[in-house]
Symmetry: D3
Subunit: 209 residues, 6 copies
């Protein structure tokens, strides 16, 4: 039986094509353990805090990140976030964690093929094939990808510079939004045939419905 190789990808933004939006503020107390949003639909930027006197070790704790996740879905990967929703003690601390399991894509020998594209100045592609023990950085806000080019499952852990990174999978956002974007817009932006756009929109419907 083949076992998943362990890789520590040290990225600032996690999934297939995520875009987190920047620096969280510093805390003004020792900590500010998040509470769930109150019933009466009032929210703040970030989260309300518990009474600090009620802080317990469990609010700073999460368990089970070593358990492999199921990757049998259309994109062949599963993201397990560990952010302020899982660890309320992360509130105001500006950092979070993610485990990503990749199904093999059986292309060539090796492990994880990763890369990112610089912004409109030159849209340069920078890539690397990663092996166990490797670390890679995705600069914040740039489109990037990770692709398991090995024959076995792969797993990566990523640290993110936000307590609640706003992850965006480009394909899902563009073709799977709810309701769908007017196909004429996508035909123009992606220079695709209208039928291809409509077909894509029906395929990505699974993502959010």
């Amino acid at each position: 039986m083949k076992t998943a190789h362990f890789i520590l990808i040290f990225c600032l933004l996690a999934l297939a094509s995520p875009f987190a939006y920047a620096s969280d503020p510093s805390p003004l107390q020792d900590f500010c353990v998040a509470i769930n949003d109150p019933k009466d639909a009032v929210f703040v930027n970030g989260k309300f805090c518990k009474d600090p006197k009620l802080a317990r070790a469990q609010y700073f704790y999460y368990s089970g990140l070593n358990i492999p996740r199921n990757t049998s879905n259309p994109v062949g990967s599963t993201v397990t976030p560990v952010n302020v929703a899982q660890i309320p003690g992360l509130n105001t601390l500006g950092i979070s964690l993610v485990r990503i399991d990749y199904a093999p894509n059986v292309v060539v020998e090796g492990t994880l093929y990763v890369g990112f594209v610089t912004s409109n100045t030159d849209n340069r592609l920078i890539t690397k094939v990663l092996y166990p023990g490797d670390v890679f950085v995705f600069p914040i806000g740039l489109i990037h990808f990770q692709f398991n080019v090995g024959k076995t499952n792969a797993v990566a852990f990523a640290a993110l510079s936000s307590q609640n990174p706003g992850v965006i999978t480009v394909a899902n956002a563009v073709f799977g939004s709810n309701p769908p974007i007017n196909p004429d817009v996508l035909v123009k932006a992606f220079q695709l045939d209208k039928n291809v756009v409509k077909n894509l929109q029906s395929k990505f419907w699974w993502a959010n419905n």
Copy 2:
């Protein structure tokens, strides 16, 4: 002759699908007029400054934003940035400006159809048709679009919350990177046929070459 309608789009991120990455620092002096990067290839986060005693009004000034731009290109729009590269006095001030000219797409009566998609939580699409005098906000970091649905040229002015917004046109970055992203990655991510991916990569080659 039909003239372009004037619209003031008040967006945080400018082009077809741009992603700027967040809050710039506050200045520690009255101002810090940018100088061009020095010959010996040493850079800082942001820009070096001129001697403040040499500050002149022209470093805080730009002219000609009222002149219509040519929109005859594949995507039918032209972006004229006014950022720290055009106004060196913007250095450290965390704000910039953009003029966008849109060719008409002759679909329905009206002017500019704009929208943005929320992040992976639900990928919800929020849209609006804009008329002259309207203002619209694109929350920072979210995928968004602007589409001229009128019969005439349109023009919009946008303010951006960065002195040097890292704009990313999604289609260009994904299909037009240099060198191209391995098509297998895009086949998986976008669920497109490999021939469609290769065709798109050849089309967007113009963007960066």
Copy 3:
């Protein structure tokens, strides 16, 4: 009939002598649409947010910025702010917009005479006469002015690097405060005759009463 020239002033601080106070934080969610202050007089730094599931396009939208404003008042200009009070979706985004209409002051041919003064190091004055299509930057926190030196109305649009810029018109704050500042203080600070100070305080009484 003479029509108002259109000028795009790109300033960080808007009115006759405004002082906004610095960098707003980055958002921790996709967006945080502001709600009005709750009845029970509890406030936060910034604003509380609506339930994100209730976000609608109208919260990111403002209409009518193309309509000229009336400028018949003692200072001959009118400021129309478009900030978090008008567009609740601006909350946490750190940017806002303003339209300023100027009555003509019929001095010389031209359009808008603008300038700012550096801080106490040397109190240097930096000025420029602006024409349609021109852009000018006022560095944040410095005293500045705009003066319509043309024969017709003028209009300017300004982008501000705060969602809720704390605008201060120097003359109003100094001579029109409520209650008035002790005249002895102003006599000393401005080296004015006590009768002139008292006269000014009576004139600026209109500003806040």
Copy 4:
């Protein structure tokens, strides 16, 4: 002989009417001792740093703040700043100090009469008479004043939330800029007679010349 009373004014902004502009960044090293600007007129936002291995206690040290200053000048007060120019170790630390000596104005019994005016929303004046041992806070960016209403000299120490606060004395900036602001602008803004404006501009000429 009457001795000066000691008052600890704890203000964020120091002189007669200063406006500092906001939050300095956090340091990325243990410290970053400032060096003087290099000969070749290249500057950064803030200051360049010395080699950290060359840090000495003297770079974090200033002496003589207990010595009374001479207050015989037109405005009757003297400000002794202790910022990054005096203590290079303050670079990147976002805080500084100031000593202010006030000549007596012999008005009523008491010590220091201080106040600030809120921004344009209502231009409300908030004041207090301070006695030895009192502490007062001026919210950042608001116009404020301090006035010695006692019969003896007074001294105050102030902490400022910037390593290099951009202090602006309103009267100096408005009437003493170099070159002077066009009197027509000031006539309009302050509703003063043109002769009064010209007289004031000649009086404040001392400030920067």
Copy 5:
């Protein structure tokens, strides 16, 4: 009778070994006067604000910092904080103040012996003996100390770059925590005999009980 010398220590972090944690955000309003935490145990990062219309001078004011404090306790010094708990108007302003009274330690002639240690790179010690009128800066986050080496009481005033500095007295936190840290951990970390550790833990019990 011997009187206490007055010293103005200008430090970023206050007590025997305090560690404050960094930059507070800028305010989004003129001010945001703190209110006490509401009954129902909901908190925010920082503090809720009062209705700004109810702002009074007393919220920006503190009295009595000139009164000497009693220093007869085991560590021979007393810290009087003046932060957001004492002056609610400090909320969101990122600065606070402290008075420290030191009992004499009768070692050598002189006044206050201060120092700090750089981080793990080289743990270098930087020290200075301070006299009346001296100012000294402790870089944020570094372990530091102040020790009265004179024969009389001493007093210092310190400005801190946080509205609510999270002060940590190292000895109290390490040996006086509640409940105590497992002695085996401290034996290993400090290379102390287990009996010495247990003895220290009993001595520092006073600090928090």
Copy 6:
């Protein structure tokens, strides 16, 4: 043979007692790959950047974090940092990584005993015993510890919210500084016998010499 258990500690601050100091700024470019400090001893807050056109994948990459480290030293643990010194592409990104190997301390069955102490308000101790797959958060700036209570080696990976976290091992800084702190200061602060202090100072001499 017993193998080391794998634990993912998700902490903001890394070693036995580290104190990192706070929020790094957001980048103003796509990235700012660090260069080594220039010969002429001029530094900036953070690091200078390479010409962005020369960016290569290797600047965002680090290899070998999966290799166990030797833990035979007095404190029984080894920290392997992966910060801006190892990955120059981390410059301006505000995040870094660390691998910690712990020798077993053979106390009880289990794995890693961790905890932190709140600041001076109550110096409360919050602890947890961690097992493979567990995640724990140390709030920034608080004194904390990790102790291998198992019979085998343990390894943890930690993400830190700074590109260059200023780590401070309390015992090393207090007793191993160079030159040593005056023993009288430590006798007073830690209530230790002078001989114990001198003995500790000789023991910790290894740390920095």
